[in-house]
Amino acid sequence: MPKITFIEHNGTEHVVEAEIGQTVMEVAIKNNIPGIEAECGGACACATCHVYVEKEWRETTGEPDEMEEDMLDFAFDVRDSSRLSCQIKVSEELDGLVVRVPEKQF
């Protein structure tokens, strides 16, 4: 099973197991990662599952599509590494993925 590391704003690390096909948001919710709210339940309609993807993983996770970019307008402190975790699907290639949770979700 691929492993994903979530790093909270305060530096706390959570290494959790993910299932192929889940979204990174679902993995976070299942493991009660603080700071991922996912208010809309994964419909790409709220921007409260905002994460920063660590540099070395950005190529593998890819760029947000247009709908996700639009929704990122509703997030706080958006950076080049910003993604909505409900739009990243877990695959074998993402084993070891590291994402950071922002200080605040909107």
Partner: protein, 354 residues
């Protein structure tokens, strides 16, 4: 009996609407409640904070598929809304959109008085709370101390354009609200700037074009970046720290900020209605879906009972049982005979198919 406007004036100033049933929330479950009440000869008013029926289905996921509506293997949020509207058409409900119910209190005669933020008042026998996750409210940017500025320097909506005359305005966002208000306020503002994190906009292309023309004409300052900090004293804003895409920060002088970051759901005034909330949900029985208050029902995502599942289909079932009890309150002398729409000429007449 049909609900009617009376000239009697309440403390909101408007006429008091006498109703049999008022449904708070026009999401899928609120809409279906109209149907079930209608079959029981009960006319309904619907109140919703949004400018359209459908609730979350229409606001959050109009184009997203729903797979667990019985009989509809796949249906989008908007299509479900449209079909429900078609289904309740024979019962001709009255919609009151863009309004939020602020107060709910029992009158001496046992009926309920409702007041909305638009000053409208209702006197009704039955209240059905179908408020889902609460009422949609503008998102508040998580900027330190922003609450202190709200109502004085920070506004989430514009009621009167004139209130913004001669102000130094900063509008934040890239959607229709942000751009529409930029265009509308520009003529009265002393200065106006639009702050957005990227040079693409979600707003209508025509609006974007007009905005760019204003920028080129030097009448609008378009800033690429994000708001990070507010500066001012006692609710009076002096400047906003802006961070650009390159990570540089600078102070932008302004006395007014209008942030447009979409909507979020907040429980809102429901919390103040004395309904013994349980973790922000309204406890109900599972026979009538009635709250602790006689005549006030709660259906859909907002209610709670053992085994509750927040599914649209559960809300439909709850609405059906609610209507049975509502009938007892509105027609205490009449018995509601159980019938099927397939075979009952009585129900078919109500549905206008016979």
């Amino acid at each position: 009996m049909s609900p009617k406007d009376t000239p009697e004036s309440g403390n909101g100033g408007g006429p008091v609407i006498e109703a049999q049933a008022v449904i708070i929330g026009a999401g899928p479950v609120g809409l279906f409640a109209v149907f079930e009440l209608g079959l029981a000869d009960i006319e309904a008013h619907l109140i919703d904070i949004l400018d359209k029926p459908g609730g979350q289905c229409a606001e959050l996921y109009p184009e997203k598929p729903i797979y667990d509506i019985p009989g509809l293997p796949i249906v989008s949020g908007q299509e479900l809304t449209d079909r429900l509207l078609e289904q309740i058409k024979p019962f001709n409900p009255t919609f009151h959109l863009n309004e939020r119910v602020e107060a709910l209190e029992r009158c001496e005669d046992g009926r309920w008085r409702l007041a909305t933020d638009a000053g409208r008042q209702f006197l009704t026998t039955v209240v059905v709370i179908a408020a889902g996750g609460g009422s949609f409210t503008p998102k508040r940017p998580p900027l330190q101390g922003i609450e202190d500025y709200e109502g004085k320097s920070v506004f989430y909506s514009v009621r009167r354009i004139e209130d913004f005359r001669d102000r130094n305005i900063l509008i934040v966002g890239g959607g229709d609200s942000a751009l529409d208000w930029t265009l509308s306020l520009q003529p009265v503002a002393k200065s106006i700037a639009l702050l957005h994190r990227r040079d693409k906009f979600r707003a209508a292309p025509d609006t974007v074009k007009k905005m760019l023309e204003l920028t080129e004409a030097g009448k609008l300052n378009f800033i690429l970046g994000q708001a990070m900090e507010l500066h001012g004293e006692e609710g009076l804003l002096e400047a906003v720290t802006v961070r650009t895409k390159d990570g540089e920060t600078f102070r932008h002088d302004c006395d007014t900020v209008l942030p447009f970051f979409g909507l979020t759901m907040k429980l809102g005034p429901v919390a103040d209605w004395g309904l013994n909330l349980h973790e922000n949900l309204i406890p109900v029985d599972t026979e009538k879906f009635e709250t602790s208050e006689k005549g006030v029902f709660a259906v859909g995502d907002i209610n709670h009972y053992p085994g509750k599942l927040k599914l649209i289909l559960s809300g439909f079932h709850e609405a059906a049982l609610m209507a049975q009890q509502a009938h007892k309150y509105i027609y205490p002398d009449k018995e509601l005979r159980f019938e099927y729409t397939t075979s009952s000429s009585n129900l078919q007449k109500k549905l206008g198919v016979r």
